[in-house]
Symmetry: C2
Subunit: 246 residues, 2 copies
Amino acid sequence: MQRGAIDGAAATVGPEVADAELAVVCAPVDRIADLVQQLQAVLPPTSVVTDAGSTKQSIVARVGAAAGRAEFVGGHPLAGSHRDGPEAADARLFVDRVCVVTPSESNTAKAVERVRTFWESLGMSVHTMSPAAHDEVLARTSHLPHVAAFALALSVEEADLPLTASGFRDATRLAASRPALWSAILHENRDAVLKAVDRYLERLAALREAIDEEDAVRLENLLHDAKRIRDRLGDQLGAPSGGTRL
Amino acid sequence: MQRGAIDGAAATVGPEVADAELAVVCAPVDRIADLVQQLQAVLPPTSVVTDAGSTKQSIVARVGAAAGRAEFVGGHPLAGSHRDGPEAADARLFVDRVCVVTPSESNTAKAVERVRTFWESLGMSVHTMSPAAHDEVLARTSHLPHVAAFALALSVEEADLPLTASGFRDATRLAASRPALWSAILHENRDAVLKAVDRYLERLAALREAIDEEDAVRLENLLHDAKRIRDRLGDQLGAPSGGTRL
């Protein structure tokens, strides 16, 4: 409020939001469905509610179809960082990044369009897919990298830290994320996350075996396959060969 | 040569380097020992040879003690990137970063000091330890993160790439490294790398189990432990709380 970024703040959802045409719920994933339903209780049926949660299927299912109430359309802007609070605010956070919007069968085209237009007005490219498809892909592209980074940070001794360089720093950056937030995400998307982790364990086992058996040809082939995939993303955010625009 | 960065280039080690006081071998780790021995054959015994390889024990052992020849003192500047070639040159690459120097029992204090002074003149903090201790720590802080990043890149479908954000990009950056270079490093430091990978697999198994068993308390505790370690490195290279200065 001191910065003029918001007009008001309240600890609960009350009548003061009753004239909102669009409400965006930004909260830990295990609290979103509740907040959506509290909003639906005070908003007119012509309003639309969306969210910014990293999981979609369980939230969309929990909210359900609420006939005669403001529609909920799930969303997930693929932008953010491990930092939080107003100090970490970034006016260009969403520019040229991707937002996934996950309509359910009960959504009207009009409500989906309103949510799409909102994220596009912030500079995002909007990609539409089912909640289940979203959770399956994001388990691999976001939830798994978090698990991998947490495990990597747990694999060093504190005494090792002076002998880390930028590689370790980048590879573990996601481990600085908020534990409560990520515990909830990994829980909400449990099945898809376990599938992605198992897939990762298989790839690690293949690399381990090639190292163990001193099979240089197989090892180098695996590293080439990995590099080929990673190279498609390019070096920089905002200037990718395939990573942030659809 | 066009840029004036070097005075000459040759494909082999010949008499043209015979007046060098200090020779720094920068090559894939499996080629370093040979090149050091070729240099020792042409340099006077008062010269010193060092290297920039990511593994030390096998190189130091292979070079051996060469009485009456230029001394070899192993080194490893912890700075670099996944990019290579003159286009990727960076005059400040070594500033405020750590270099590990790994003297063997046959090295004189004078030769070690010459190598230390060289890296310090480029702005580095020099840390001295045994080749074996270096390989043990670097397996955890550098070689393992590469294995983890290669496996992570192998765990996504190409069709997933548009739905990646900066987290995936950072977590997999090391997978863009040169396959031949890293195949050799993982081979040369095989025992320590396998130990680090096994440690990592244990941490992943613990996280997987907590997710699978929906043990939110245990999961959040693990994530907290990981975050505590990662937070000690701070956000930025060059302004760390413990990562690049000793």
